[in-house]
């Protein structure tokens, strides 16, 4: 996903003054990345749209506080991430999914086992270097728990550090690290065995 996120300073200045055309231009510029971040974390399109709307309502309310330090996308992304994580915390707790995650991951990331997925090539006759089709990875990613998806997406795709994720989620750095490891173990296993299984 490659999208240009550069916006002219003059547009930001107009948005700060409450110019609706400028605010809409900002919305159009960042609509897709915000929606995608929320969709990858929350999975349900309706939830992602709600986060998109909540994010830009917050942008409208707070744009004057943006002082031009850092990229505007970084500032908006922080708001979107916060809204998405808040939704995970308060709106829905998918206990069954979490339980399933626990049972599958188990001690998968333990020592002595290549990446916690068993001996290479023994599980599905697939070499570890052969990465399955992208659609499979997308489906496998969607089957992770919300928390795991959030950690993987924020760390591996958005480039957040474990410290930043821990702060955003109100957890520890080791929680973030272990979630990432477990998520990759599970992704690896699902891709080896076939997502549909």
């Amino acid at each position: 996903m490659t999208i240009s996120l550069a916006v002219p300073d003059i547009l930001v200045a107009r948005a700060k003054s409450g110019d609706l055309e400028a605010l809409e231009a900002l919305y159009r510029a960042f609509e897709t990345p915000v929606y995608n971040l929320a969709l990858r974390v929350l999975r349900r399109p309706e939830d992602a749209e709600d986060v998109l709307q909540e994010t830009f309502l917050e942008v409208v309310r707070s744009i004057k506080q943006y002082r031009g330090e850092g990229h505007l996308w970084g500032w908006i992304r922080q708001i979107a991430t916060s809204k998405a994580l808040m939704r995970i915390r308060h709106d829905r707790v998918r206990e069954t999914e979490e339980l399933h995650e626990e049972s599958v991951a188990g001690a998968g990331a333990g020592a002595g086992d290549i990446a916690g997925v068993g001996v290479i090539g023994a599980s599905a006759g697939m070499s570890p270097g052969s990465v399955p089709a992208q659609i499979d990875l997308e489906r496998a990613f969607e089957r992770l728990s919300e928390t795991s998806r959030a950690v993987v997406w924020l760390h591996d795709v958005e480039g957040y550090t474990h410290e930043e994720i821990a702060e955003q989620m109100g957890k520890t750095v080791s929680f973030s690290k272990s979630q990432l490891a477990r998520a990759h173990v599970r992704l690896r296993r699902m891709l080896d065995e076939g997502v549909s299984q």
């Binding site: 996903m1 999208i3 002219p8 003059i10 547009l11 200045a13 107009r14 700060k16 003054s17 409450g18 110019d19 609706l20 055309e21 400028a22 605010l23 809409e24 919305y27 159009r28 609509e31 897709t32 995608n36 969709l39 990858r40 399109p45 749209e49 998109l52 709307q53 830009f56 309502l57 409208v60 309310r61 004057k64 990331a109 333990g110 020592a111 002595g112 086992d113 290549i114 990446a115 916690g116 290479i120 570890p128 270097g129 990465v131 992208q134 990875l137 997308e138 990613f141 997406w153 591996d156 795709v157 690290k177 272990s178 990432l180 490891a181 477990r182 990759h184 992704l187 690896r188 891709l191």
Partner: protein, 194 residues
């Protein structure tokens, strides 16, 4: 044979792998392949296609922006009222002051400020398209006016020891800023001095 765990591989990817993990991965084809698979998975996640929302949420955001604007104007009004109340309180507590208040001057600048406020609302700057420079100037002026409103609101009767000269000065500053704001909106003056 002990191989790298996913924790080890993630640490290696982050350049934080332990000495043992680095040494092992260097000599273990299986772990190197697993590390390469990790890199590829992440690259593919980054390359997942962008999705677009099915519904346009901008109308809802725009309505929210307009509501916020109305609320803000209301707050300005409240601030103005609070400032006026503070002024009335100071006038009542005038005996505590060390020197007489120029009530006429206070009333004059206060009236001036209210008139400018009305003119600005009639002009409806939010409904007009402005240049980026004008918008930035207007935003800076609004911020400064808000600061003065806050200071005026704090000058209640309980703080009657405040110097009346300061109060007059604050109101005068508010009027000057309001005039500059009008100037930016109406004439798009480029020489406001910000």
């Amino acid at each position: 044979m002990m191989h790298c765990t996913m924790d080890d591989l993630l640490a290696l990817r982050a350049g934080e792998g332990s000495a043992w993990a680095r040494q092992h991965a260097a000599g273990c084809a299986a772990c190197r392949a697993e590390l390469e698979a990790l890199y590829q998975r992440v690259a593919q996640l980054k390359a997942l296609p962008a999705r677009r929302p099915a519904r346009d949420r901008w109308p809802a955001v725009r309505d929210g922006a307009l509501a916020e604007r109305r609320r803000r104007r209301g707050r300005w009004g409240v601030s103005g009222l609070a400032a006026a109340a503070a002024l009335a309180g100071l006038l009542v507590f005038r005996p505590f002051w060390t020197k007489p208040v120029d009530a006429a001057e206070l009333a004059r600048v206060k009236q001036q400020s209210a008139t400018l406020e009305q003119q600005l609302q009639r002009y409806d700057p939010d409904g007009r398209v402005t240049s980026g420079r004008s918008a930035a100037l207007a935003a800076a002026l609004e911020d400064r006016i808000a600061v003065i409103d806050g200071e005026l609101a704090q000058l209640g009767p309980s703080r009657a020891q405040a110097r009346p000269a300061d109060l007059v000065t604050l109101w005068q500053q508010r009027v000057e800023l309001m005039e500059q704001l009008m100037s930016v909106h109406v004439t798009r003056a480029a020489y406001v001095g910000l």
